[in-house]
Amino acid sequence: MPKNNKKIFLFLAGGTCIFTEAGHIFSVKSQDDIEDWLAQMPELNILADIEPVFISGEDDLIGPNIWQTIAKEIIKRSEEADGFVIVSKIDQLINTSLALTFALQNLKKTIITTTSRISGSNFIDKKEVISNLKNKYGGLSLRSNLINAIQVAQQPLPAPAIMFGTRLIAATRAIFDPLGDVNVFSSISDCWGKVDFGINVKSNLKYNQQKAKIYSDKLADILVFDDIPGVPWSFDRRALTAYRGIFIKVDSYQKLGKNKQEQIIKWKMPIVLYNYHLTSTSKGAISVSNCTFNTALIKTMWALSNEFNKKDFENIMTQNIIEEFLN
């Protein structure tokens, strides 16, 4: 091992599928699997002093509970660490990265998330997908992604970012693009870094100098749905009491129908209307645009957590907290 290796904590929370030498798929389902899993990738050890931390298994659900655990574990280890790499499921990777971005603001440690191309330990239904990936890429991309992630985690970045394929993307700018070839995540603005014959990270990136703000509460449960113009909303009011707020993805050019606008007023709960381009206003709801869907969603869950007074909700949602808005 080279001298002066940096200490990188490797958090495992799903998304850990790799091909073994024998051509089988192996993933971390429990703490006991970690040693064998790491032994499949001895090349990681020439990059850094890696300490694995088990968060959840390959088949566990990733959501607010896991995000809260990851944030707490990062804080616990932040003095000792030079950086953090979080491996988690591909379908929730953007949300995981965003949850950490809102929870751990201005942390002076780099957090990189990455994943395998598939997740879940049941492979029967994914047989053809796996076979195609093996033919096309020779694997599930996690090994390369991890190496790139460990390398980038040793450099200062202002906020958590996703490393996948040849792109390093800020969590607030990432969108899922499953049809992408090598890259399944795109960025709505410039990438923070690109891989060609090395990793080229933008030279102006550094830790935020402001004091770190840590929010350790679990993100709030909210009801999320897409509005279809002309189709009424039929909710039992009692069912809505299970949620702290409602997040509605709306059409960018059509106003909400009159009945729907009246429903929003009657519900008397925090409601967000989201569209990337623009949203029409509706009394009793906050319109959010000019940021990614995932960013608006996770920000809403964060702003409705116990950390804040409900009265501050509108104020928080319209503020540019972590440079989530494009302009």
């Binding site: 030498e21 050890n45 190496i147 891989v195």
Partner: protein
């Protein structure tokens, strides 16, 4: 065949020049970090598209370690060319001792006299390596309507994808082409 050649001895390094020339003479396409104005590669290039990685120098640096790890993770071959007398890096020793990676990482202590021989042996290994059998090169081919009709008919009849059928046919032709097989056998004999 594409090779990425990396050296951290930027100045006065005739061995690197000799090694690259040797790869080129053997027909390999060599990308490198030493040529001016390429900044470690070529525009639009990527380590994903090379078949093997070659390090030449006395001692690994951070970037070399990273590139070696990345190439090994992609299941590609790595050649480390160290001048005779150089002390082997502990991280390289660890990799060489690992049962999984020992097959992929080739550490060679060279002198001026045997540099060419070591390079040609390595080329033979990568030419037969698993990565060269991956179907990862995209090929656009224009065909006539009649050929398309035949491909559709054949694929349907044999319940096989058209691309798979074409690949199988080409592989059969390659196997049966004695002249080509002879060429392959002598390809890297200098």
């Amino acid at each position: 065949m594409k090779i990425y050649f990396y050296s951290n001895q930027y100045l006065n390094n005739p061995d690197a020049k000799d090694a690259m020339l040797c790869f080129k003479k053997a027909g390999a396409d060599v990308l490198n970090n030493l040529s001016p104005n390429v900044d470690g590669g070529v525009a639009g290039g990527s380590l994903d598209r090379v078949d093997a990685f070659v390090f030449q120098g006395d001692k690994l640096d951070t970037k070399a370690s990273y590139l070696i790890a990345l190439v090994l993770a992609q299941n590609k071959e790595v050649l480390c060319l160290l001048p005779k007398g150089a002390k082997l890096d502990t991280s390289l020793k660890d990799l060489e001792a690992d049962s999984k990676l020992a097959k992929k990482i080739h550490i060679e202590l060279y002198s001026k006299d045997d540099l060419k021989e070591k390079i040609l042996s390595f080329l033979k290994i990568i030419d037969n390596g698993s990565i060269r059998n991956l179907f990862n090169i995209k090929y656009t081919l224009r065909i006539s309507g009649k050929i398309a009709d035949y491909l559709n008919w054949k694929a349907n009849k044999e319940n096989i994808k058209k691309a798979d059928w074409i690949r199988d046919q080409i592989q059969c032709i390659v196997q049966d082409d004695k002249e080509y097989q002879e060429f392959l056998n002598n390809k890297f004999n200098g």
